[in-house]
Amino acid sequence: MKRWEREGVVELEDLDIPSEEYLRKGVAITECLQEIPCNPCVEACPVDAISMETINDTPKIDYEKCIGCGNCVDACPGLAMFLVKVTGDSALITLPYEFLPVPEKEERVKALNREGKEICDAVVKRIRRGRTTLVTIEVPAEYALEARNIKVVR
């Protein structure tokens, strides 16, 4: 049994991790690993980078096609899509955020991992308000695949 089946925590080995080259380009990463009847991510993608054979499949992302627009992050009801872009020593992570308070641009927040534990400091670089509020944070590059939530500390 996978850890996510018991505890709800995804491990890196469960994921399809883009190559370094794609990470530098900035692409979407999906953490949707279970066959559920759902496909808004496919519908949301402007370049058809996400594929699924039937609605019950898990989404597959074509990193070559993906332009890192974030539409799938906004549409996904499972909050299971993230954008990651590595630039030198730091990484930009775009994640869905449905809590209050919404941080300000350039605000310092705490980055949390998949268990909700604080792992490092992060700086908010962008806020996009769509169907879901998307927050782009900057963290040290080594946390690019770990930071998946934020905590606003004021």
């Binding site: 709800g8 609605i55 998949r114």
Partner: protein, 479 residues
């Protein structure tokens, strides 16, 4: 206890009004239920058990469990969870005594429609929208707002575009409500209390706020009464502060009132997982979600988002008892072994001031059972079910079921089943153009939904329901 700010919801609170609780003057807002207003004022004990006088609070929040009964303006046994508070209202402890003196006269309204729909949730409203271009339709719902379970779902829904995936439940409820109310008559605060076969289908319904009795003659009836939450047996399970998950959602997401400060959730199916997330959104702490099974039952994406907010999920755990004097003060949880026995020495006390049970739903079958439609126990479907065919028609001609009442599933399925029932009912009154084409499309969508891993159980349930329906109908229709 009121939520002032929320990341997803805006609470439209009505005019400030005052009511009396056991002689004490309290503030409320127009448009909220008595139960919500009492909670907002810190009152969680609503009644007492008749024999041992144990304190009781509300459990289901949708008028189905009877633990919130109080005396309101002299009338005993009022379901305070679905009755709106009014200026100057007198709310008292229930003594169960009927009032002396004259009986209140109710106005009777007679109605004749092609299709009567009982329940205005996802299924009922969809049926109404589908059928009303072809037939006269009335929808009857006993809650103050139509939309059923959808009106408290702040999360974006799964599914496909046709079923409005990616849209929040509350938004779907609004869209359905707007469309349905343009096309047909919706009676709110109105409970259907009886079905009679008078050679035609006949319903009796009561508007509880305005003292009106409706007598409705209908050519077809679609029952879409939804489901009610299951109870769990453990010591102290009747303490105020123990709620059905949906009850807490109603309180928190419809009326903007917090159930407490810190909660424990029992059950890691989708309902429990989503509730944990919604509590966090409302600024309420969740100590843990516990689950008896070795695996999380709900979607992994829901589990993952709850975990990212720091809520632990303990599988193979159960609740042993709840303690507290007037309300929940904590719970003892315990680990389970392979044979579902308590692991010795694994008891652990957790501090919490409320507990939510999210341990499954049971179809609300009592009303449709009055019609004489064949009812059978089907475990996979969640309990007693009215047998029905692929068009959602029961063994009694002209009586349909749809949504959670017809098998515990999802809103997407409830909407599709509503459309199927609505279309078929209309078509059997007067032929509908392109009937076959429309029906085929709805059925195809339904089939796709039940194909994934999560579709296995509902699919099996439906197969059994149909099989038994055809077995029964081989011997001719009942009723």
């Amino acid at each position: 206890m009121r939520i002032e700010e929320h990341p997803v919801l805006e609470f439209e609170r009505g005019k400030e009004i005052y009511f009396y609780y056991n002689g004490k003057k309290m503030k409320a807002y127009e448009g909220e239920t008595i139960a919500a207003a009492l909670h907002a004022n810190g009152i969680t004990k609503f009644s007492e058990s008749t024999k041992f006088h144990r304190p009781r609070g509300f459990f289901c929040g949708i008028g189905k469990c009877s633990s919130c009964l109080m005396k309101v303006d002299g009338v005993p046994n009022v379901r305070t969870c679905i009755t709106l508070v009014k200026e100057g209202m007198v709310v008292e402890d229930n003594d169960g005594e009927l009032p002396d003196g004259e009986v209140q006269e109710a106005k009777t309204v007679e109605m004749e429609v092609d299709i009567a729909i009982v329940g205005g949730g996802a299924a009922g409203l969809s049926a109404a929208i589908e059928a009303s271009p072809y037939a006269s339709v009335v929808v009857i719902d006993e809650n103050p707002r139509p939309g059923g379970q959808l009106i408290k779902q702040t999360h974006k829904f799964f599914g496909s575009k046709e079923e409005r995936a990616g849209t929040r439940g509350i938004e779907i409820a609004r869209l359905l409500r707007e469309e349905a109310s343009k096309k047909c008559n919706i009676l709110l605060n109105t409970s259907v209390i009886g079905y009679y076969d008078r050679g035609h289908h006949f319903l009796v319904a009561v508007n509880r706020m305005e003292n009106v009795v409706y007598e409705i003659k209908a050519r077809k009836i679609i029952f879409a009464t939804g489901a009610q939450e299951n109870m769990l047996v453990f010591e102290g399970n009747d303490l105020p502060g123990i709620y059905g998950a949906g009850g807490v959602q109603t309180l928190m997401n419809v009326y903007g009132v917090k159930p407490g400060k810190k909660g424990l959730i029992v059950g890691a199916g989708n309902v429990g997982l989503i509730l944990a997330y919604q509590l966090k959104q409302a600024g309420v702490d969740v100590v843990a979600i516990i689950e008896a099974m070795p695996k999380i039952g709900g979607y992994m994406v829901h589990a993952a988002k709850v975990r990212r907010c720091g809520v632990p999920i303990y599988t193979k755990h159960s609740i042993k008892r709840a303690y507290g004097s007037e309300r929940v003060e904590g719970a003892t949880i315990v680990e389970l072994d392979e044979n579902w026995n308590y692991v010795e020495g694994s008891e652990q006390d957790v501090e919490c001031d409320f507990i939510c049970l999210a341990v499954g739903l049971t179809p609300s079958v009592r009303l449709v059972a009055q019609t004489g439609a064949e009812i059978t126990y089907i475990n996979e479907a969640g309990g007693w079910i009215a047998l029905h065919n692929e068009y959602m028609e029961t063994t009694k001609e002209g009586i349909y079921v749809a949504g959670d009442l017809a098998n515990i599933e999802e809103a997407s399925v409830a909407m599709l089943e509503g459309k199927i029932a609505g279309l078929h009912a209309a078509h059997s009154i007067a032929p509908v153009e392109n009937f076959d084409e429309k029906m085929r499309a709805y059925m195809e969508n339904l089939k796709i939904f039940r194909e994934g891993v999560f579709g296995a159980r509902p699919k099996m349930a439906k197969e059994k329901i149909r099989e038994r329906y055809h077995e029964k109908m081989g011997k001719g229709r009942s009723g």
